[in-house]
Subunit: 298 residues, 2 copies
């Protein structure tokens, strides 16, 4: 017999299963962060962004504010945003999406942040050509109906890795070395290119620790894609990174390579059809409100 | 000392860690299915789609080809696709994306499928108004530069659930009952609306089995969002589903509610600004090439 609604009383029923507790990472968009959580304790992230806004911090953000998730920034006109979003989803190791932000809006993952000023340093491109490096891009934001994509960054977990096995560029006060590889991205429309990786050397006995520590954070690129012979992934000379700084590699160490958000930065800035693209300067990331623990995968 | 590239030999190095083995579900787009896997054994899915194309199958697809993942279809003009894709990512319990397909292309997840003819039945909308129900939409596809979104469906796991605890609409040879709820979606741009759910009644002792069996499949909506009192989620009368058929609820049974892909179908067809939208008819899904086991979450 079909029962009447009135026969159902919540008191006698099992508890409801709220949707929102389940797996934001499956979507790649942690909007959940903005909803029910307190901002308590996140003032440090906000204050760091204010220092960037005032020009008081103008360096790579590695080892800065290690409690908080860091993010890559790519801003392109809305006309190109659908293709770029598909490209990001199909290359999610390089491009784990954290948020999508329209024009002057603040991101869900960084309360009251101004994306035009709150990163230490930006690069501006027009029709695929580099125009300038700057600390303030506010004059560009209204120009082309820009959409900003915030993408996870390996700086998120590297302080943790540093405590366990030592991270060379932190020891040497440098920016992380980044290399272009020969591993092709899945392409969509005008977005192509190869995977870009960050490199951290380690002793072979520490490799498992490197994998285990970082694989828990798919929203920050997760585990390495390669360890060992650089030429196997198209890197000719570890002494000449394409971005960032050269670091020391000691005898017996192996280079370990992780996907890098510069992958999507390169894919977007190289498009001649895109009249304006604004990105962070490699290594100069957004400090978000997300505690590192909150990004841990399921 | 920085070492020369020539000092690295793959023979002496740990194995590489291939990217593509890792976690497609984190992106919501299982493009991986199209890449390295054999099509062996998938002829059954293709033959089913051919039957639809020839008009030989014209019913709901529940309990059809239970080895294969089923998918919702929503086709809208590319101008609206970026907002819709964001909406899908932010409401991923209702809208777990399986693929995105442009115009007349075949989906990665259904080889050589023609999305205009290979589902049993479609609905066509113009500027938010229902136009017709049809078995062939090929005359519309070129009209508006359509992008098709394929979204996971609970029919994927319900044969498995039927074997364990019995699924009422399969027992009664009906289409699954679907209800509009009062649970609001996250909205983006012009895409709004409330969650739509499928309902399957079960004895309270079977509820844990329902949750466990379905939670393994986030790409097919995963576990239930609610069990028990329908009015708690805005459903007035279980005897009057908004889509599909009324089913028997026996004494002592509780209704269990799962997110339904009709959620995004409703959100898109209700937009007056969208000149043309094409969807499957509720319950008349695409049979894909993906084996159900391949969709199991990590």
């Amino acid at each position: 017999m079909a029962r009447e609604n009135s026969a159902f009383h919540s008191e006698s029923m099992p508890p409801a299963y709220p949707m929102r507790e389940v797996g934001w990472l499956h979507s790649g968009l942690p909007r959940a962060f903005s909803m029910d959580k307190s901002r308590c304790g996140r003032d440090r992230a906000r204050r760091f962004r204010e220092r960037c806004r005032k020009g008081e911090f103008d360096s790579p953000t590695c080892a800065q504010e290690p409690d908080f998730v860091q993010a890559n920034l790519i801003g392109i006109p809305k006309d190109h945003a659908f293709d770029f979003l598909q490209f990001s989803l199909l290359n999610s190791r390089a491009c784990p999406l954290l948020d999508i932000v329209s024009g002057r809006d603040s991101p869900s993952i960084a309360a009251e942040a101004d994306l035009s000023t709150d990163l230490p340093r930006y690069r501006v491109f027009r029709h695929g050509a580099f125009v300038e490096e700057t600390k303030d891009t506010s004059r560009f934001v209204e120009e082309k109906n820009l959409i900003f994509f915030l993408v996870g960054c390996s700086f998120t977990w590297e302080h943790m890795l540093h405590e366990k096995v030592g991270v060379r560029h932190i020891q040497e006060w440098k920016n992380v070395p980044m290399f272009k590889t020969n591993i092709p991205n899945e392409h969509i429309g005008e977005f192509w290119g190869n995977l870009v990786v960050t490199m951290r050397p380690c002793m072979p006995g520490n490799l498992k620790q490197c994998i285990d520590t970082t694989s828990d954070y798919p929203g920050a690129h997760g585990g390495p894609v390669h360890a060992g012979n650089p030429s196997a992934i198209g890197i000719d000379d570890l002494g000449k990174p394409d971005y960032g700084d050269r670091v020391t590699i000691h005898d017996g160490e192996v280079p370990v390579f992780w996907p890098c958000g510069v992958t999507v930065l390169e894919a977007s800035i190289s498009c001649k059809s895109i009249p304006l693209a604004i990105t962070h300067s490699p290594g100069h990331m957004l400090i978000t409100d997300i505690f590192v623990d909150e990004l841990r995968g399921e």
